[in-house]
């Protein structure tokens, strides 16, 4: 349990690695060896995360088994046990918040009451306005889940990059920021309070900006980096506002306290929660690429491909989803998820999933297809959260990270082979040249499409199930969205397979398989894409094999039951028909595309012949004209009048004032010069001078130098004085 209380070590290690690489990378370590520092640091963190996961699972086991004996008794013993083990090691005061009882395993929601999150805090981070900001870590099942995802993907990406980015002009810089990104994301997922969460949120944003603009010598890359950063800033305003509302409502930044408070207060704080949810939703939209702020994510593909895999598919973009999951009671109350039949979050998620999938059809850049696929899948997760399927969303986050990272790294491998192009029109037939990449790519595609028994099937099925049966089946519209997206996902991924790996090679040069250091991570991820679904298998499936106790691992160990119970979520039971329908839809998507490309049937050339089809295609190709809407209409319409107004103000007000001030100063200067300086002061001085001169000239006459003249004056004066005396006296 030591690691759960000292979880701060986990982000600290890559942060140190960042500083070491940045400061000593080129000079002491040597530019060609820095990747070893990064890989070592992330490797250590990966091991620590695994230990943390095991510790957490043990803790949950302890809590639930002793719960079975005697609920009251067990809580006391768990608390005591934790306090005893933690008291020696932690600097700050470790405390375990009181159990929110009354919502145990016997309340009919099917939740087993897990342990409380392990919270370690140290006071006195900083204080402002009489509020002390503590710093600390909050480790619970959700954090542990993300720790495993982030460190696993990060480790594989680090290894993969050592070959992919080898010989790059900023190899040191690349690894430094890869480490910083890992540190930031780990910091974010274990943030104990909202302020820390904002810090982590912004840090991953900065890392994303830096890494998208890694090759900043090319203009489009810097544009993409700036676009990503600015779009994220739009959402960050929402985050700040949301956090401010939460602080204003509850008077604390402590995430755990806020979640518990919402659970207790319920509808008393509904309006505040609604406002906070809407504001925070803007943040989610920007970070997790939800409509209408998703436009930065495809452009973010300008960065190196491993970065796309790490940041823009597997980890950073799930920060928004993670944040919803972390503050789920807030959203649950704010959007009335439990009682409405449609809400902002579910709609944004579903709509994003749909438009993302649509856009993926019209792209020729393999990474952009995957980027829109990411947008779509993130929409899926948000939609799942919007319909109350917390576990399904987190489970999908978990499985999606593996197969999407595998797809991105596969795309990188393809580009590595095909002379650094991402245009699928210059690929084709690559399955013969790069069998490992082909196989792993197909496995991940099947996982993404949701084909049994790959990972995506299980998580997607849970989401669809949540939409079907969750909250008394009120979210059936979302189910329609989900089903359409399932079909589209399978179809556009099959299209990618066709253009990239089948047909004839259309590029130039000779493609070749990537070296082992790239294919081994691909295979690891591909294996995960197959088996990740096993982490939350429904009980009936496992009963077939007599392994019931491994059912619902994510549900059992990752859920923050102490507040999910408070808001009263329930898990729908598995539904064979739904699973079959989802599978049929995915297979139908593959089959249609298969017929279209492999059998060459269907309406080929429709977009050229039919002008409605052509219009639709152009609409997709232009990304629903959203970029135009933002740059030309929104920015343009705001910019032009503002520019004109500013120009008018500049010419007519500011210039006028400045000119008048200048003229006034000049005139008063002249007046002062003429009348004061020249007229008064100079004249006075001159007059004094000339007066003295004249006086001197006058007196000079008397200064004859002849003694007798002086004598005459002396005696004359004396005579006059004497006469005056005589007369007066």
């Amino acid at each position: 349990m030591w690691i759960l209380e000292n979880a701060f070590l986990i982000p600290l290690i890559p942060a140190v690695s960042f500083l070491v690489i940045l400061l000593f990378g080129r000079s002491v370590i040597g530019a060609e060896r820095v990747h070893k520092v990064g890989i070592t640091a992330v490797g250590i963190v990966w091991i620590l995360s695994m230990i943390a996961a095991v510790s957490w699972i043990t803790q949950v086991e302890d809590a639930t088994s002793s719960k079975a004996d005697d609920a009251e008794h067990a809580l006391v013993s768990v608390n005591e046990g934790l306090s005893a083990s933690g008291s020696g090691a932690v600097d700050g005061d470790l405390y375990l918040a009181a159990e929110d009882d009354g919502h145990g395993s016997d309340d009919g929601h099917g939740y087993a009451a897990g342990p409380d999150p392990v919270i370690s805090t140290a006071d006195g981070w900083w204080s402002s306005g009489g509020i002390d900001f503590a710093v600390g870590t909050l480790v619970d099942g959700q954090t542990v889940l993300l720790l495993v995802v982030v460190t696993s993907i990060s480790l594989l990406v680090h290894i993969y990059s050592s070959e992919y980015v080898k010989g790059d002009r900023r190899f040191v810089h690349y690894y430094a920021f890869l480490s910083l990104f890992t540190a930031s994301m780990l910091f974010f997922v274990m943030a104990q309070n909202l302020v820390q969460m904002i810090v982590g949120w912004e840090l991953v944003g900065v890392c994303s900006f830096v890494l998208i603009g890694h090759w900043w010598e090319e203009r489009p890359n810097t544009d993409a980096a700036v676009k990503a950063f600015l779009t994220n800033r739009v959402g960050d305003i929402g985050l700040l506002v949301g956090v401010a509302i939460l602080f204003g409502t509850f008077g604390t930044f402590d995430i755990d306290s806020i979640n518990r408070a919402v659970g207790e207060m319920g509808s008393e704080v509904h309006f505040a929660m609604l406002m906070a949810s809407i504001a925070l939703m803007a943040a989610v939209c920007s970070k997790s690429g939800q409509f209408p702020l998703h436009t930065w994510l495809p452009d973010a593909m300008a960065g190196p491909t491993p970065v796309s895999a790490l940041i823009h598919a597997a980890t950073m973009v799930v920060a928004g989803v993670f944040m919803i999951g972390r503050l789920y009671p807030v959203f649950f109350e704010g959007f009335s998820i439990g009682t409405s039949s449609i809400n902002l979050m579910a709609f944004i998620g579903g709509f994003t999933a749909l438009i993302g999938a649509g856009l993926a059809f019209a792209q020729w850049d393999i990474k952009k297809v995957l980027a829109y696929s990411t947008v779509s899948q993130l929409g899926y997760m948000v939609m799942a959260l919007g319909v109350g399927a917390w576990t399904a969303a987190m489970f999908h986050l978990f499985t999606h990270a593996f197969f999407k990272a595998c797809l991105f790294l596969g795309a990188g491998s393809v580009s590595h082979a095909a002379h650094h192009t991402f245009d699928m029109r210059e690929m084709g037939g690559l399955r013969k040249y790069m069998p490992h990449t082909y196989k792993t790519f197909v496995i991940s595609t099947l996982a993404l499409a949701g084909i049994f028994p790959f990972a995506g099937f299980w998580s997607k099925d849970e989401i669809l199930l949540g939409a079907l049966k969750g909250q008394e089946s009120r979210y059936l519209l979302m189910l329609v969205f989900g089903c359409v997206v399932a079909l589209l996902t399978a179809a556009y991924m099959t299209r990618v397979i066709w253009y990239t790996f089948w047909g004839e090679y259309r590029g130039h040069g000779h493609p070749h398989e990537s070296p082992k250091v790239m294919t081994v991570p691909l295979w690891i991820l591909a294996v995960m894409a197959v088996v990740a679904g096993a982490f939350n298998l429904p009980t009936p499936v496992l009963e077939l094999f007599g392994l019931e106790r491994f059912a619902h691992l994510v549900q059992t160990y990752a859920e923050p039951t102490h507040y999910l119970n408070a808001i009263g979520l329930s898990h729908p039971g598995p539904e064979w028909e739904m699973a079959a329908a989802g599978l049929v839809l995915a297979l139908a998507g593959i089959a249609i595309t298969f017929m279209y490309y492999w059998r060459n049937t269907g309406p080929h050339g429709l977009t050229e012949r039919n002008r409605y089809a052509k219009a639709g295609y152009t609409f997709l190709e232009q990304k629903y004209y959203l970029d135009h809407l933002y740059t030309d209409i929104v920015v343009g319409s705001i910019k032009a009048p503002i520019a004109r107004a500013a120009n008018w103000v500049n010419n007519n007000v500011i210039d006028l004032v400045v000119n008048r001030a200048g003229e006034g100063a000049r005139d008063s200067g002249r007046w002062v010069y003429r009348w004061i300086d020249q007229g008064t002061i100079d004249n006075t001085v001159n007059a004094l001078g000339s007066g003295a001169d004249a006086g001197g000239q006058g007196l000079r006459v008397m200064q004859t130098g002849k003694v007798q003249n002086y004598g005459s004056l002396l005696f004359g004066t004396a005579a006059v004085v004497a006469i005056v005396f005589v007369i007066v006296l």
Partner: protein
């Protein structure tokens, strides 16, 4: 009265001395005229001493005679040096201090 006559004589002598100082060009004559003025003062001092029957008037007169002797000594030395340098003792020729 006797005193008036002394005073008139003194005034006369003084006036002659003033005239000599102011009007004579010869440096020696100027010095001699200064002697006349000093002696006019001496005459007054002695006359007033008699009048008031005090001896200090005569004592002052003696002091003045002594000082006048020293003064003439210095004055004649100056005149002598002037003559050596300029071959002239006409006081109106020495106007180096003219403004």
């Amino acid at each position: 009265m006797l005193l008036n006559q002394f005073l008139l004589l003194g005034a006369l002598l003084f006036a002659v001395g003033v005239y000599g100082v102011l009007a004579r060009r010869n440096g020696v004559m100027v010095l001699m005229s200064i002697e006349l003025m000093l002696n006019a003062v001496n005459l007054n001092l002695v006359a007033f001493g008699l009048q008031h029957d005090v001896v200090s008037g005569q004592v002052f007169a003696l002091f003045i005679i002594a000082v006048a002797a020293a003064e003439v000594g210095v004055g004649l030395a100056i005149v002598l040096l002037l003559y050596r340098n300029r071959r002239s003792i006409a006081v109106d020729e020495f106007d180096l201090m003219k403004g």
